[in-house]
């Protein structure tokens, strides 16, 4: 039942996120500016939940698929591709929100396509996928750095995106990104049985009818879909995709079918909580999401690992 209780964190943080903020407590039935701020808080909380859910889905799927406990949603190069898309758009002058988020989405998907192409030529094995992803990430990051240097003083604007935030989410963005995130997460859910069999060993899974090569392609695409959509909404938010599956695993045992729903809910909770905290870190300001998810997630992970040593 321990795992079940953790699900309650999400409505708790969601509700806190609606009540707390620099504007103060808002009477939910008031009209006017207060109602609008409440709507913005709702938008932020929804965006944060969806982004956390998508990243956790992607992280769990990739950790099971690649049998790598350090896998995160960006291991296949999606965030570098998205960052390149965004920086290229900003450098070319397309800086309005819809353009930036579409550039992120397309950049992430393009990076995955490249990684899959390279990895397919090498047999689409786990090792080739990880190597291609890491190599592409480094290559794209170097191009990113060149563009950032070129932007000069305007680089500050792109840094806001690079550190990840849901503060600038728009209903329109969520409208197109949410279905993509949900589709990716649902696809991985449909393959949860296959991924659980994969935990028993490739040959055992194959003997049960799981086609490992095809599964790798499917889960990679599904994870890239939900990750790219999440990055399009909030920028590359780090650490959630790595730590949510871990807390789920430590909280409810190792079987993939059991940890998957829990990791989705924990990912959403963590991101909503981080967004809530980011409003209060600097008086009058805002902290980037990635720094807070890491600051919050790392101690939790260490504590859980220490407790579950035995």
């Amino acid at each position: 039942m321990r795992g079940g209780l953790l699900h309650l964190l999400l409505p708790l943080f969601f509700a806190l996120s609606l009540f707390l903020g620099p504007y103060g407590l808002i009477n939910p039935f008031s009209q006017g500016l207060g109602a609008f701020v409440l709507e913005l808080r709702l938008l932020r909380a929804l965006a944060a939940s969806l982004v956390g859910l998508a990243l956790a889905a992607s992280g769990s799927g990739l950790q099971a698929l690649l049998k790598n406990p350090l896998a995160d949603p960006y291991i296949l190069g999606v965030s570098s591709g998205a960052a390149l898309g965004v920086l290229a758009a900003i450098a070319a002058g397309f800086i309005w929100p819809l353009a930036v988020s579409l550039a992120a989405l397309l950049g992430g998907l393009a990076a995955l396509a490249l990684v899959m192409a390279v990895s397919s030529a090498l047999g689409l094995t786990r090792t080739s996928m990880v190597l291609a992803g890491v190599a592409l990430s480094y290559a794209l990051s170097s191009i990113d750095m060149i563009i950032m240097m070129d932007l000069g003083p305007a680089v500050q604007g792109s840094l806001a995106w690079l550190f990840g935030t849901v503060a600038y989410a728009l209903w329109g963005e969520l409208a197109y990104a949410a279905p993509l995130m949900a589709a990716g997460a649902a696809w991985i859910f449909l393959r949860a049985g296959h991924l659980e069999s994969l935990m028993l060993g490739d040959d055992v899974a194959e003997s049960m009818g799981v086609r490992a090569r095809r599964l790798r392609a499917e889960v990679a695409v599904a994870s890239a879909l939900s990750t790219s959509a999440a990055v399009a909404v909030a920028g590359p938010v780090g650490f959630v995709g790595l730590v949510a599956p871990w807390i789920a695993r430590l909280g409810s045992g190792g079987a993939f079918r059991r940890i998957y729903p829990l990791s989705l809910s924990l990912g959403a909770s963590l991101t909503v909580a981080a967004d809530l905290a980011s409003r209060f870190v600097e008086p009058g300001g805002m902290a980037p999401l990635t720094s807070i998810t890491a600051l919050m997630g790392a101690p939790v992970l260490v504590y859980l690992l220490a407790r579950w040593r035995g």
Binding site: G4, H7, A35, M149, T165
Partner: protein, 407 residues
């Protein structure tokens, strides 16, 4: 096992149901709130129509006619100012129905323009980097003006907690665009001012004046800035253009290349940009200084954070003995600009005219009857007085309303 499964399924369903219900309730509520607002706006527009119509039908005796004509003129003048419309850098038309009384500014240059056209008393929020006029810090301290944090990475809720009725930002910052779309849903206009060229700076001054009800002052300010620019141009007309490198960051070295307003200022001040091949602001190797051979090097040193001596020693370190082959270094015409002078060269605001005059003094001191050896290496309001005759219009430092003390 089954019970466990059922209860976790139930818990998840409860979570989903709660979230969906809350969102549905709030969204439904907001929709009805918005329809209420729309009908409010509609009645405001129709009442404006009625006001104009009623004013057209006033009659009385000659003396009272004269009085009423005069009062009609002044109220017509104020009602002619509003509703006011202007187009911002995104091409969107912004309509303001009545004089804004709660203005928030996200950029130091916007703040400067607002106060310079006289909209200071209407400002209730500025970003943390705004520093002109000097009494702003006192206003922030006593709470009249709220510090809303960084304009590059603004927190929407903090801005809204200042209850603005209009926000001024910059079109080069992506987060400001996002803010514009967010606030549009509530009807708070976010004006994104363009800032790439001097023409755009003047355009911004007009826009700000129009939307805040200070068209006259904005007109005057724009004319003053233009006059200052002409003064600088006129003083250096016919002189050989001095090649100059304008360094905006020392390490790595970033210069202002072509397509920036600094570049236009250099041209107006009788100089030529040694790095005109660089587009926008860009990094250059120190060796590029050797190739470009500028006659003057100007470096915007902020408000004292960046040190002239450190800059010079860094240059010598990077260039070695070849440093002395650069004409500017050999002749000692390397200037670190600090203090308020620095802002004149780094903010696309109302001081571009003054900044151009400053540049013309540094590039052509002989036009002002000065010798270049008399210009100090650290150029600030305290070390160099600009030889500006009385005929050139000044931008007065506005007094801040209800300021405790002005420095």
């Amino acid at each position: 096992m089954r019970r466990k499964a059922l209860s976790s399924v139930a818990a998840s369903l409860i979570v989903v149901a709660v979230v969906v219900a809350m969102s549905a309730a709030y969204i439904g509520h907001q929709l009805s709130a918005y329809s209420a607002q729309v009908s409010e706006l509609y009645s405001a527009v129709s009442s404006l129509n009625r006001t104009v119509a009623s004013q057209a039908s006033a009659t009385s005796s000659i003396a009272s006619q004269q009085q009423s004509i005069q009062s009609r003129l002044s109220s017509l003048e104020s009602s002619m100012r509003f509703p006011a419309s202007a187009v911002d850098a995104t091409g969107q038309q912004i309509v303001v129905y009545s004089e804004p009384t709660r203005i928030v500014s996200l950029m130091p240059s916007d703040t400067a323009i607002l106060f310079a056209v006289g909209a200071g008393p209407q400002v209730v929020g500025v970003d943390k980097y705004s520093s002109w006029p000097p009494c702003l810090s006192a206003l922030k301290a006593n709470g009249t003006v709220k510090d809303i944090g960084s304009g590059w990475y603004p927190n929407p809720e903090v801005i809204l907690s200042a209850r603005p009725d209009i926000v001024f930002g910059a079109s080069s910052v992506p987060s400001n665009h996002a803010l514009k779309q967010q606030f549009a849903a509530y009807g708070i206009p976010v004006v994104l001012l363009p800032d790439n060229t001097i023409e755009e700076v003047l355009q911004s001054i007009y826009t700000v004046g129009r939307l805040t009800g200070h068209t006259g002052a904005a007109q005057l300010l724009a004319e003053n800035v233009t006059a200052e620019l002409s003064y600088a141009e006129g003083s250096t007309i016919g002189l050989n253009r001095t090649s100059v490198a304008l360094i905006v960051w020392p390490s790595p070295i970033w210069v202002a290349g072509n397509g920036t307003w600094e570049d236009q200022m250099i041209t107006a001040a009788g100089g030529s940009n040694a790095f005109s091949k660089v587009s926008g602001w860009g990094p250059v190797d120190p060796e590029a200084l050797l190739a470009a051979r500028p006659q003057v090097i100007i470096y915007t040193a902020g408000h004292g954070q960046l040190n002239y001596t450190e800059f010079m020693s860094a240059l010598y370190q990077k260039l070695g003995p070849a440093a002395d082959s650069v004409p500017a270094i050999a002749s000692g015409r390397v200037y670190a600009v600090t203090g308020e002078y620095n802002d004149w060269l780094t903010e696309p605001g109302p001081f571009v005219g003054y900044g151009t005059i400053l540049l013309s003094v540094l590039l052509h001191p002989e036009a002002y009857g000065m010798n270049y050896t008399s210009i100090p290496h650290v150029v600030s309001p305290g070390t160099l007085r600009l030889p500006v005759p009385a005929s050139v219009p000044v931008i007065s430092t506005p007094r801040c309303a209800s300021a405790v003390s002005s420095p």
